[in-house]
């Protein structure tokens, strides 16, 4: 047993059982039995966790760091343009007297809800699964201290920001948990922004569960912007009912090791998912992104657009899989992943996959990785643009499919700004904006 596994077991034994005990118990037993994922596991073959496994982890507590609240520098969205910011420190929501009131969003702590009525949340905790991409979710379920439960009951016009602050040392682990529950017909934009205080942070094992009722619409962002020494394992589960629409943006702009997974289930007819991933490899960063989209009902639609850029000695991996269940006729899916290498020592691996068990489906996928197109570059040079400008323009053009999909303009501007700082020729790019 690895040092990490032992330390998680110790934490587990030290806990006081709570109202979720049966769910937690089951998850922890599976986790201990299966152990940490290794390179032999299908979705982990590109990410080596051995150095992580060698550490012993303590619990990253809910220290209320005063400096983290309301810090404009950490905010991704212009404060005039969003409904509210909710802060979570190491997974613990700061729900004090100043809690913002947002029309049509009920904001609660998960703990409060399950202490009152555990049955209310049961549907949002999935049965313990042996699938290797869900390994860390098991641990999150077992050990999370508290989390946010957001119930969206109507149309919310302005975005809500969840600021996840990670603070502490590398030999600690936090398990942030967020549940977003959109009632039938409700609509909202929610931005989860992950930051750390300093370069070093606890192991961050976060999970978000999104449930969209009939006709509900959600635009959801998760932006990874932790320090260069931080390890972040993030998972997102999306369950969609009839005619619901989800637009999801995964933006990797920070962290040393980032593992990001998305599992979406289109459970009823007419459900539609647009997933956008912008994965930026910079310096020594390792970004491993896994998407699994299941068309579980007829006439469901999914689009996955991934753009990966890698510079320096970074590595970016994007694996996506579309599964069309038996009977899900009329499913319509597209996967487009493109990678752009900006340095000879960087590496990008993309692998789109299809698993189809139905007859009448429309599924397309494509993946390309390369350097900047020499024809495009020559065209721009032949118009008198200098090489750095031309290259930077082409990099931005490469990302346009993801960036232009964002409807929150201030979030897009902030993301572009952060992105520019991680590209070669940052000064030149600034001039474009």
């Amino acid at each position: 047993m690895s040092a990490a596994l032992r330390s998680f077991e110790t934490q587990w034994r030290a806990r006081t059982p709570d109202a979720l005990q049966p769910i937690r118990e089951q998850a922890m037993q599976r986790f201990l039995k299966l152990g940490l994922p290794s390179l032999r596991d299908e979705t982990w073959r590109y990410t080596d966790l051995r150095s992580l496994a060698a550490l012993s982890y303590g619990e990253a507590g809910c220290a209320a760091g005063g400096a983290t609240t309301g810090d404009a520098a950490l905010s991704l969205v212009d404060f005039k343009q969003h409904a509210a910011t909710l802060t979570m420190i190491n997974g613990c929501p700061l729900l004090d007297a100043d809690l913002p009131v947002v029309n049509c969003i009920e904001i609660n702590s998960i703990k409060d809800i399950y202490n009152r009525d555990p049955s209310q949340l049961r549907q949002f905790f999935e049965a313990a699964s042996d699938a290797d991409q869900r390994r860390w979710v098991l641990l999150n379920t077992a050990l999370f201290i508290d989390g946010l439960y957001l119930k969206i009951t109507g149309a919310v016009a302005t975005p809500l920001v969840i600021l996840h602050v990670s603070t502490g040392v590398a030999a600690q682990a936090a398990h942030p948990r967020v549940i977003i529950d959109a009632s039938p017909g409700a609509s909202a934009t929610i931005i989860e922004h992950h930051v750390s205080q300093g370069d070093i942070a606890p192991l961050n094992n976060s999970n978000t569960h999104i449930a969209l009722g009939r006709d509900a619409q959600l635009e959801h962002y998760r932006v990874y912007a932790t320090g260069a020494g931080a390890t972040h394992l993030d998972s997102l589960d999306i369950h969609q009912a009839q005619d619901s629409q989800c637009r999801q943006f995964t933006i990797a702009l920070g962290g040393g090791l980032v593992r990001s997974s998305l599992e979406a289930r289109l459970n009823q007819r007419g459900a539609s998912l647009d997933s956008y991933s912008l994965l930026v490899g910079h310096q020594e960063r390792h970004v491993d992104c896994v998407n699994i989209v299941t068309h579980a009902a007829p006439h469901t639609r999914s689009r996955q657009t991934a753009r990966a850029i890698a510079s320096d000695v970074s590595r970016v991996i994007f694996n996506s899989k579309v599964i069309v269940n038996a009977g899900a006729n009329g499913s319509d899916s597209k996967q487009s992943c493109r990678g752009l290498l900006l340095s000879p020592s960087a590496e990008i691996d993309t692998r789109p996959q299809l698993e189809i068990h139905a007859d009448e489906v429309k599924c397309a996928h494509g993946a390309t990785t390369g350097r900047l197109d020499p024809d495009m570059l020559f065209y721009l040079l032949s118009r008198g643009l200098d090489r750095e400008t031309a290259q930077s323009l082409l990099v931005f053009a490469f990302l346009a499919d993801v960036l232009t999909g964002m409807s929150v303009s201030s979030a897009r501007a902030a993301i572009e700004n952060a992105l520019i700082n991680q590209l070669p020729d940052a000064q030149i790019l600034r001039k474009f904006r």
């Binding site: 197109d373 040079l381 032949s382 118009r383 008198g384 643009l385 400008t389 082409l394």
Partner: protein, 250 residues
């Protein structure tokens, strides 16, 4: 203005240009004709500075400067313009942005201030009207989703905005219907000026009914095998390239 002497160039290890000699003076319009594979487009690309085309012998001077020693962007700023045969689509780079960046690069090289935004828009609108282009073009990506004819108009529009000293137009007439051909010709003619020169690379004589050349050259096997005035183009149209190629063999 342009002096090409014994120019020999290779693409992917294969000799395509085999000793080109050509002099283009200010105020002149030259047409370079020839069958497919004769090296017309290679010549145009080499003059614009395409890097994967290797010059193995000869020299090119542009306004007295060694053109071959200049990078593509330096050639452009010095006043050389290539109208591409197949303009590349660059989704995500805005047309107007490219035009503005190109104009400012040229102005900066000439020691002039950047163009005023209002002035620039007025200039673009005027040139677009002249080229009979729709305003929707302004917001689109460079050549993105353009038809063949729209791409060629866009090349000429860029040329009109940049006002080059030497314009090399590589088969700008190919794929155009007669109306588009007239518009494109009007654009080229508007640039005719005692201080400028134009080199038209073309497969057909058709364009030369609208843009009357001072000299016509026939390229074959990577060298100029015949030169003459505009009547040479008419004769070629009548007798076909075999006539010149036959003459070359004899």
């Amino acid at each position: 203005m342009l002096e090409i002497s014994d120019l020999t160039a290779r693409v992917a290890g294969k000799e395509i240009l085999n000793g080109i000699n050509l002099t283009v003076k200010a105020g002149e319009v030259h047409a370079i004709m020839g069958p497919n594979g004769s090296g017309k487009s290679t010549l145009a690309q080499v003059l614009a500075g395409r890097e994967d085309y290797e010059v193995t012998r000869g020299s090119v001077t542009f306004e007295g400067h060694d053109l071959l020693a200049m990078r593509p962007e330096e050639r452009a700023r010095a006043g050389l313009f290539l109208g591409f045969q197949y303009p590349v689509e660059i989704p995500g780079v805005n047309n107007v942005y490219l035009l503005k960046a190109a104009l400012n690069a040229k102005r900066k090289a000439a020691g002039e201030p950047e163009v005023d935004a209002y002035e620039f828009l007025a200039l673009i609108r005027e040139k677009m009207k002249f080229m009979q282009m729709s305003e929707t073009f302004l917001t689109r990506g460079v050549n993105e989703g353009f038809s063949g004819g729209e791409k060629k108009r866009n090349e000429v529009l860029q040329m009109l905005v940049l006002e080059p000293k030497l314009a090399i137009l590589d088969e700008t007439d190919s794929g155009l219907d007669i109306d588009a051909l007239k518009v494109v010709s009007k654009g080229v003619n508007s640039l005719r000026d005692p201080a400028r020169a134009v080199v038209l690379v073309t497969h057909y004589q058709r364009l030369l009914d609208y843009v009357i050349p001072d000299q016509v050259h026939v390229l074959s096997g990577g060298r100029i095998v015949k030169s003459g005035d505009k009547s040479l183009a008419q004769e070629l149209e009548r007798r076909g390239y075999d006539w010149v190629m036959g003459a070359q063999v004899a």
